[in-house]
Assembly symmetry: C3
Homo-oligomer: 151 residues x 3
């Protein structure tokens, strides 16, 4: 039964890893959308996408686009460590309910974080969701390291 | 035979994951090369690498260096999700030919993307290669998630 | 015995992967600490964390905060490839002592790199630690690829 539980937790961690990475990848089209609607481009050759008299003026920095970029960067810094550690955490054979709690909490905290960031919600909504996500990750770190050093 | 196929696909996905990560890591020396040839530095202590009368002037932003940096960042945002999802995709036991098609298409689209980005090729060469890479990744996401939710 | 050795090396690689990712994640609170002590914020809503008459002035760029950010970005670019490749490297059944040497060298080079970067130590201390870390990763790349193409 223990072996079966590892299999289910591993399946669960793969599913959640896939979901949060999918969420992270969707930031890319979102950035493109903001760039196109606000007519902000990072490269001169990209200005071809909109017809314009003065192309060079479009190569600039826009606060809204930078906000989406920072949100994407924050995802990279938090979701990738979660994905790696969640797969290793699944190998430590945790309780199915505990694993589900960790994964659900992390996934919802990241969705909440993105909504709060893009929507420029007043603090500490974004700060709290960031801290919840990090605490979940640190809890998984703790379990993996404690299991490894006891073996 | 199914078990053997998983092994080959896993070997294949490891190989392609290694190749695209290697490609991504080579952006680091490329950035250093651009920084040194254009005498652009992000930190004051780095100006030691070139003998110069006015060091402080070298700490600035250069459009070519920023272009390489953006290309590296785009690699981080696309290649790392591919690596994670390709390993999970291999565990869903896909057809060897389908897996090979996915991996080859992704790897070549990323090489093409880098050449188009660094060379500042006219659009939509870079945009197309980016979209091809993302579609391949989304196709693998779809297979992993559909397999998981049917199990 | 070969099978047992793979298990130990895999355990070792998981442990070191966990440690370096933990080190990378600690850059996040460090950035927040620098932002709060230097009163530098990327978003207008974050200025709520400090009481201030003129909020808008706090949304600016600070060289020390940018230094921590660049250090974090460099971690992302080097530690994540290491984590992926170290797990694949463990599957190639290397000698336990060789694996330990690779992992120890990489982990210490990254800690040294962070200390040299945040402390703005004179070059080439940071450059050397970066190169050592990359050489270790490339050595693991070489082993994985040579094993795969001989199979």
């Amino acid at each position: 039964p223990k072996c079966k539980c590892i299999k289910y937790v591993f399946l669960l961690s793969s599913t959640y890893a896939t979901i949060v990475i999918l969420k992270m990848m969707l930031m890319s089209p979102l950035t493109s959308y903001f760039c196109l609607t606000r007519k902000v481009f990072a490269n001169l050759e990209d200005t071809k996408f909109v017809s314009s008299v003065e192309d060079k003026k479009l190569v600039r920095i826009d606060p809204d686009v930078e906000r989406v970029r920072r949100c994407h960067q924050n995802d990279l810094e938090n979701i990738i460590p979660f994905v790696v550690i969640s797969l290793l955490y699944a190998l430590t054979a945790p309780e199915l309910s505990a694993a589900l709690l960790h994964f659900c909490l992390f996934a919802s905290s990241r969705v909440f974080h993105t909504v709060a960031y893009i929507g420029a919600q007043p603090q500490s909504s974004r700060g709290l969701s960031l801290i919840v996500g990090m605490l979940v990750t640190f809890s998984m770190f703790y379990r993996v390291l404690s299991k490894v050093f006891l073996l």
